[in-house]
């Protein structure tokens, strides 16, 4: 079944069609969610939130060609929302394997480079991750985050410069 047909059915309230639309690009969605959430469970939760919102709002999607960028924007918003909540809530759920406290600090050391990230603003980190982890081009990033192309470029530029200053490596002009 082609995209158009499936979208039509999803708009008519066909849940299965919507699931299949998402599953067709499951890797892209999952990786995007993972880059934000950093673990499987939260990434899946964010995708659940996303599909509910897609289902509730798909009738209002006018430009059908933009389904995927529209839904990714929604996914990113879901991730932001969850991250905001996580700041306030301490999870009391089931304990995952390997969660004893010093294991975390060990992981932290393994990726000591993380501390450099801390010097960036959230907006800069976000754009850099989308650009370099997911290999998205500037256009797509602008679409997904719903921000102007110029903002994407400037965030990448300043972000890279800050990182460079922090790490002290060779400066590569990326733009």
């Amino acid at each position: 079944m082609d995209l158009e047909e499936q979208l039509k059915r999803a708009k008519a309230g066909d849940q299965e069609a919507l699931v299949q639309l998402v599953m067709a690009k499951k890797e892209e969605f999952y990786r995007l969610a993972y880059v934000y959430m950093g673990n499987k469970e939260d990434a899946l939760d964010a995708m659940e939130d996303m599909i509910v919102l897609l289902f509730e709002n798909i009738r209002r999607l006018k430009n059908e060609a933009s389904f995927y960028s529209w839904s990714k924007t929604i996914l990113v918003n879901c991730c932001h929302k969850m991250l905001r909540k996580q700041k306030k809530v301490i999870a009391m759920e089931k304990v995952p394997e390997g969660s004893y406290q010093d294991v975390f600090s060990e992981k932290e050391e393994q990726i000591s480079l993380k501390k450099h990230w801390a010097k960036l603003s959230e907006g800069q980190r976000e754009v850099l991750k989308l650009r370099f982890y997911l290999d998205l081009d500037y256009e797509s990033i602008a679409q997904i985050l719903n921000i102007p192309l110029g903002t994407v470029k400037s965030r990448i530029h300043t972000g890279l410069r800050l990182l460079q200053r922090s790490i002290g490596g060779e400066w590569v002009e990326q733009i």
């Binding site: 509730e56 089931k94 995952p96 992981k107 480079l113 997911l134 060779e170 590569v172």
Partner: protein
């Protein structure tokens, strides 16, 4: 490669190594099927329209008189538990019967309230034009405002009628302070992205309030294997019974932090099984909550109301899950004929050890609650950290009279090796204690 490039290379490689979990499709589908009554956090409220209705007051000097004036709330049978049904039959509530009509045509009617020392219950009906309830998030959010504060919704149970035209709900709030009389219920509904909010004011008739049946300061401690569960108080009211306590008070929390031995670090309401027995019969548990504040880690457990002919009351700590030191390693070989591990009296079955895509996977199962909280895989002597845990599955099996839950999962360690050893350093498991605390009733 310099560090700068490494930063991105490593992150990118990690992302590329990600495989989409098999459960994704099922989870997406089930997220949609359970969509009918989604709970969402408070949205930004846009416009507030106050509808002021004339409050009618009910003058009653005692509950029995109210039973005469007040009327039973109808249509809530399905969503009331036994205790509430009984109280409703006795007319132990206050009828309100006020409505608010939203812009989209939905009408919320506050049918009545029931108040005791533990909670304020709101009985409400949301009516909608035929079939409309199917669309969008139609569960109204509720908050109650009094003279000196705001009371948030604790929990709510609701049911959609077969023809999708109405939802009846029972919503629980913390009981308003004793001096609160005039309350404003704010209801908001989100439809097609916009939020509509309205108010219903009502006067609480304190004469209908049911107070409490038993209030006890307990101040006793269950001390099991160095772990302490303090039971602070018990408050029984006609609608429910609440036990409050703490897992570690703030001093113990500090002590544990300093000594580095945090037995109860991963404590959650699931990790201890606290039961209430009245006249030797178990009182059904209804829920609970946990939080950390300057008192330490505190919890509350909610049970059904106590029987009226109460003679004996006991609190029983059935079991507790805590973290323990292990420091043992076990030889493993590729395949599915590894023998089961016995760690601190707990059996962990090694179902399968295999390699895939250059990484090593170990599928194991144990009773639910057994968790290897610090585990490594020694690959030819080299210590490798756990990457992630996949494909969690929980199966309920019957064993004699009782059932237990078996948790099967696959541990994923990056890399492979000839000699594999599972290095278990710490483990959390649930131990049965069955310690009883007798609550004197006099």
């Amino acid at each position: 490669m310099n560090k700068f490039e490494e930063l991105f290379e490593e992150g990118k490689a990690n992302v590329e190594r990600l495989s989409v979990p098999d459960e994704l499709e099922i989870r997406l589908r089930s997220a949609l099927t359970s969509r009918r009554a989604p709970r969402r956090p408070l949205e930004r409220w846009k416009v507030s329209i106050a509808v002021i209705l004339v409050a009618f007051s009910l003058i009653a000097y005692n509950y029995d008189a109210l039973a005469y004036y007040g009327k039973q709330l109808l249509g809530y049978d399905q969503i009331m538990n036994g205790t509430l049904k009984q109280l409703n039959t006795l007319g132990k509530g206050q009828s309100i019967g006020k409505s608010y009509t939203f812009k989209n045509g939905f009408t919320l009617t506050l049918d009545g309230v029931m108040l005791d020392s533990n909670q304020l219950l709101l009985f409400s009906t949301l009516k909608a034009p035929a079939g409309e309830l199917e669309h969008g998030d139609m569960t109204p959010m509720m908050t109650i405002k009094g003279l000196f504060g705001e009371y948030m919704e604790n929990n709510s149970t609701g049911q959609i009628s077969a023809d999708n035209t109405e939802i009846k709900s029972v919503t629980s709030f913390a009981p308003p302070k004793f001096f609160e009389k005039n309350l404003t219920l704010t209801v908001s509904i989100t439809d097609k992205g916009t939020t509509d909010r309205g108010n219903i004011t009502f006067t609480l008739n304190r004469n209908t309030a049911m107070g409490y049946t038993l209030k006890k300061n307990i101040n006793e401690t269950f001390n099991v294997d160095g772990n302490k569960i303090h039971i602070d108080s018990l408050l029984a009211s006609p609608t429910k019974t609440v036990i409050e306590g703490s897992v570690m008070n703030i001093l113990e929390l500090a002590e544990a932090k300093l000594s580095g031995e945090e037995h109860l670090k991963h404590i959650s309401l699931n990790s201890f099984d606290l039961r209430l027995y009245a006249n030797d019969k178990e009182v059904a548990i209804q829920g609970g909550g946990m939080g950390t504040n300057f008192h330490g880690i505190t919890f509350n457990e909610d049970y059904d109301a106590l029987p009226t002919d109460l003679q004996k009351l006991e609190i029983k700590l059935v079991s507790l899950g805590a973290d323990h030191q292990v420091n043992k390693s076990f030889n493993l070989k590729i395949g599915s004929d590894n023998s089961a591990l016995n760690i601190l009296g707990q059996t962990i079955e090694i179902k399968k050890v295999y390699t895939s895509g250059g990484d090593t996977y170990i599928t194991l199962s144990s009773e639910d609650g057994v968790v290897l909280t610090k585990v490594y895989l020694l690959m030819d002597g080299k210590q490798v950290s756990l990457n992630d845990t996949q494909n969690d599955r929980y199966d309920k099996i019957m064993e004699g009279k009782s059932d237990k839950v078996i948790h099967t999962r696959t541990l994923h360690f990056p890399g492979t090796g000839q000699n594999l050893e599972l290095d278990v350093q710490r483990m959390t498991y649930v131990k049965t204690y069955n310690e009883v605390l007798n609550i004197p009733l006099k």
